[in-house]
């Protein structure tokens, strides 16, 4: 807890959070660019998500007259909970004072807090679609969250710490070890990440078809700055999952010491890893079609099975007799 009084560390943490928050739209831009290329379309500019956000921030906010005050507070809660989540994840450097404030279970809790308010906001205007979206979002999340926690438990049992920075330290110290449990946990986390960030095949971020949307249905009544915050939070969430997967399973390159060179290397490493992950996601989104809502539990069962196998193989194969 001595890290708490480290001014340089705090500055770095703030900087890292700012970088995290501002880079999230860029990641989405990159993903859209890749998808467009893969689908033989002309791609929008890489900075298009920024332009969309600025446009929305400038516009007037319109609020349904049936909505309660919660409707206007929700975007701020959702956004700040997501920002705080981003703040505790090691992006460039491992040893930052923010990392000890919350461990990975708390991190899942933050995402839960954001989702809670998102779902409530969906129901607030009293429209038919909002309730539908909230119901579906919460159903999907209630299956995805335990699968994610189980995969995370497998990792933390290996590293004997639920603190991300300690876990990453442990993995870096160990060097390259091919663990079957990590393989399964990675698969489970990939599936969960797709479901939680509302990507194809679970949800389609570009759909506005009334009966298939999940995330879009909840933010249907939002406009202006409120919508911008909600969209930004969703983009941030995608980046959060990307960074989590990249830095847990491929921690190499992240800065262990807070020196400028190490940080620069960390920046390059994480950028490379995220770009690669986006390629995987773009390919899978191009190949797969969105599935029916009641196929989603089967999909999440698979994630759960992977997580369970990860845990079993950790206990049986890695700890052993």
């Amino acid at each position: 807890m001595a890290d708490l009084l480290n001014l340089q560390g705090w500055l770095l943490a703030l900087l890292q959070t700012a970088l995290f928050v501002t880079a999230a739209p860029l990641l989405v831009g990159w993903l859209r660019l890749l998808k467009a290329r893969l689908q033989n379309r002309r791609a929008p500019a890489l900075t298009q998500p920024y332009r969309d956000l600025t446009k929305l921030f400038r516009k007037e906010a319109i609020v349904a007259d049936t909505a309660s005050p919660l409707f206007r507070a929700a975007p701020y809660v959702v956004f700040s909970a997501t920002v705080v989540t981003a703040a505790v994840i090691p992006l460039l450097a491992v040893h930052l004072p923010t990392a000890i404030i919350a461990d990975v279970i708390v991190l899942v809790g933050f995402l839960g807090l954001a989702r809670f308010f998102l779902a409530l906001a969906g129901m607030d205007a009293g429209t038919a679609f909002g309730g539908m979206g909230s119901s579906r979002e919460m159903t999907i999340a209630s299956l995805a969250e335990p699968a994610m926690l189980m995969a995370v438990f497998t990792l933390t049992m290996t590293a004997q710490s639920t603190n991300l920075s300690h876990a990453i330290d442990f993995l870096l110290a160990q060097g390259v070890v091919l663990r079957p449990s990590f393989m399964f946990a990675l698969l489970a986390l990939l599936l969960v990440a797709v479901a939680e960030t509302g990507r194809v095949p679970v949800d389609n971020p570009t759909t506005h078809l009334e009966l298939t949307m999940v995330h879009e249905a909840m933010i249907l009544e939002y406009s202006g700055r409120h919508l911008a915050l909600m969209e930004w939070a969703a983009q941030l969430k995608l980046m959060i999952y990307g960074v989590l997967i990249a830095n847990i399973f491929l921690p190499w390159g992240i800065a262990v010491e807070n020196t400028p060179t190490a940080l620069l290397v960390g920046l390059g490493a994480i950028a490379g890893k995220l770009m690669l992950l986006c390629v995987v996601l773009a390919v899978s989104e191009t190949v797969l079609a969105k599935m029916r809502l009641f196929r989603v539990p089967g999909y999440l069962n698979l994630a759960f099975l992977f997580a369970l196998l990860g845990m079993l193989s950790h206990v049986i194969l890695e700890v052993g007799a």
Binding site: P69, S80, G112, L120, A125, P146, A307
Partner: protein, 671 residues
């Protein structure tokens, strides 16, 4: 000092009951004498409890009881903790009560019954906790059960309520019988009914197992563990709401107190198998409780089922504690115990908050079903806000108190790797994943509850015309909401105070959860896991403030209010909103085998054109434990009773011959 205060507390609640007698004639007495006395009793119990929690154990003998068995009382840290919990909730209920019972004033219900039995009920709970011998414990336990039976049966003009009350009485006594037998086993080996003798006794493994099984059955029945739970969602909701708050919030904790006292203190040496059973029963209760709650539309039944879920979580932590203690990890055992008791405290606070909120809603709308509510946040802004805090806490979201205790439970479970047994190393993380599933479903449950009842548009005229409840009612909810927030943001401070409890239970070590100061929770070590709720709240607040200022400081944008867009479909009516039943439909479909579902769809079509004119959907959700356990048990009892009834031939000479043969048998026996 602590003991004196607690004695005052018991006396005050008894006095409140006595004054209640007069309420049948002077009806205002209930509001202006009974409840204030109860509130004072709550304050005294809370202060006394706090003193006992931080001080030395104190004991005394009462000039009551049987000639050879004087009643003895004792408060140690554990008893003090439970008394603190009882006191706080009783105080809040006493503040809430006067406003809430106003509508009973002109009804035909007997206010004397309400006053008398509320006082007795509270006194019974307080006495259970301070009892230091099995005899007094059982008397107090029966006082608690019986007086709460009359409170459940308060609105007895409704046949369903009478049935629920009878079921409650029956199950309370089946459970009570098991507890009595458990004490019997302990007393036989300890050579006396005082807890001190029982503590000193060395039980053979088999008999220790029997005593544990009886205690687990009896206290588990009272606490509502699956599959014995079916009475709970029948009985708790039909009492007046402030009594439901006491029953769900406090009485369940008294049952948990009994379990902890018998298992950890009186039996002492625990076994691993017990822990596994408790852990599995707890996870089953947690998961099934939340799934059943998801399908309820009655707001109070939903809350009652959610109590089963939370009791399950508490028992999971207790099971982990037993496993760790039995396999030689006392530090982790205390950690599990603290996690369980902290969750018990938190559940007492947010569940009573939610029940009081439900009471306020029901008083204002006269509707019990979620399907008839909606838009209440605008009409009841205080109740709505406090209810939201309760929902956030019970959905275990940071930085509220439910999260802190579930986090501790999860951290305890993750320490399962230290165990030698390979199977346990697998089972414990799997139950941890079940806890995560329960928590996630719990979040969905409370989004459903809050979203349907408090958000959207009012679904009925009554919901549209709801008014602000009285000041006392709001203040009580506000107090509990504040406590939920405080215990969530400053968990280290409250857990620090609880550190003496493991010491009181056979000298277990104090876990170093708060070893890093008041900012931090570090269950095992700072490297393994840390959580700082105050800093989390600070971070959330800063992020909010920053973006709020950024967006509003610049050009002071206003918002325009218009009717909802809804993809451009025509004008919205409240009936077009998602219903509570529809909201839970995906879950119903995924976990289908859990419930007994009867779904009927009636299609009425026009005779001439054959066009569909109306569609009626009916859904009946039944608890499986009725079919699996309760009904077969009932049938068995009835058929057994028929067999025995053969003895009762109606012939006087036959009866006389029974006596005759009994007399001869007894004479032969003593000769």
């Amino acid at each position: 000092m602590a003991l004196q205060l607690i004695a005052y507390a018991v006396a005050l609640s008894l006095l409140s009951g006595v004054v209640g007698l007069a309420a049948s004639r002077y009806r205002q007495l209930l509001r202006w004498a009974c409840f204030p006395l109860l509130g004072l009793s709550g304050l005294a119990a809370a202060t006394g409890g706090l003193l006992a929690l931080t001080g030395e154990p104190a004991a005394a003998q009462l000039p009551l009881g049987l000639p050879w068995l004087a009643w003895s009382v004792r408060v140690d840290a554990l008893a003090g903790f439970i008394l603190l919990l009882i006191g706080v909730v009783v105080f809040a209920v006493a503040v809430f009560g006067p406003g809430y019972t106003r509508e009973f004033l002109h009804g035909r219900h007997s206010l004397a019954a309400l006053g008398v039995f509320t006082g007795l009920f509270v006194a019974g709970m307080q006495l259970v906790v301070i009892a230091d011998d099995a005899f007094m414990f059982m008397v107090a336990w029966e006082l608690m059960s019986l007086s709460s039976y009359f409170l459940v049966a308060f609105q007895h003009e409704n046949a369903a309520n009478r049935r629920a009350a009878f079921l409650y009485l029956l199950m309370a006594h089946v459970g009570g019988l098991a507890i009595l037998l458990g004490y019997g086993v302990l007393a036989a080996f300890g050579g006396g009914f005082t807890f001190e003798a029982m503590r000193a006794a060395e039980l053979p493994q088999l008999w220790a197992g029997v005593a544990f099984a009886l205690a687990f059955f009896g206290f588990g029945m009272k606490a509502g563990l699956v599959p014995l739970h079916a009475w709970l969602p029948e009985a708790h909701p039909v009492a007046p709401s402030h009594i439901s708050a006491l029953m769900s919030g406090v009485m369940l904790k008294v049952a948990i107190y009994g379990f902890v006292r018998v298992t950890f203190d009186l039996i002492g040496t625990v076994q691993v198998d017990w822990g596994v059973i408790v852990l599995l029963a707890g996870s089953l209760s947690a998961l099934l409780g939340v799934l059943y709650a998801m399908q309820q539309t009655d707001i109070k039944r939903l809350l009652a089922y959610s109590s089963i879920e939370n009791v399950g979580v508490i028992f999971m932590a207790l099971g982990l504690a037993i496993i760790f203690l039995a396999s030689g990890h006392p530090l982790l055992g205390s950690l599990g115990l603290i996690a369980a008791l902290y969750h018990a405290l938190n559940h007492a606070l947010f569940k009573s908050l939610l029940f009081l909120g439900a009471g306020a809603v029901i008083q204002q709308t006269h509707q019990h079903s979620l399907e008839h509510m909606g838009g209440l946040l605008k009409r009841l802004p205080y109740t709505g806000t406090f209810f939201l805090i309760g929902c956030l806490s019970i959905a275990s979201l940071p930085p509220f108190n439910g999260f802190a205790s579930e986090w501790l439970t999860l951290q305890t479970a993750l320490q399962g790797v230290v165990l030698d047994s390979g199977v346990l190393r697998i089972v414990i993380p799997v139950t941890a994943a079940m806890l995560a599933l329960t928590a996630a479903l719990g979040a969905m449950l409370f989004v459903r509850l809050y979203g349907i009842a408090f958000l959207g548009q009012p679904r009925t005229r009554q919901a549209r015309q709801a008014h602000l409840p009285s000041f006392g009612m709001r203040a009580a909810q506000g107090l509990l909401a504040l406590l939920c927030l405080l215990l969530g943001v400053l968990p280290a401070l409250s857990i620090d105070v609880m550190g003496a409890i493991p010491q009181a239970l056979g000298g277990l070590p104090e876990p170093g959860i708060t070893g890093q100061g008041w900012l931090w929770l570090t269950p095992v070590s700072a490297a393994a896991a840390s959580y700082s709720a105050p800093l989390v709240l600070l971070g959330l607040g800063l992020a909010w403030l920053l973006f709020y200022l950024l967006l509003h400081g610049r050009n002071h944008q206003r918002v325009r209010r218009i009717h909802p867009w809804d993809c451009g479909f025509g004008p919205l009516s409240p009936r077009m909103q998602y219903t509570a039943t529809a909201f839970a439909q995906p879950v119903r479909r995924i976990f289908q085998p859990v419930w007994l579902l009867e779904e009927k769809v009636e299609r009425l079509s026009d005779d001439k054109s054959g066009q569909l004119t109306s569609l009626r959907h009916q859904l009946l959700v039944t608890d499986r434990s009725w079919k699996v356990l309760y009904e077969p048990a009932g049938r068995w009892v009835i058929s057994a009773a028929r067999r025995i009834a053969l003895l009762q031939s109606g012939n006087v000479r036959t009866y006389l011959s029974y006596s005759f043969f009994t007399l001869i048998f007894l004479l032969w026996l003593i000769s």
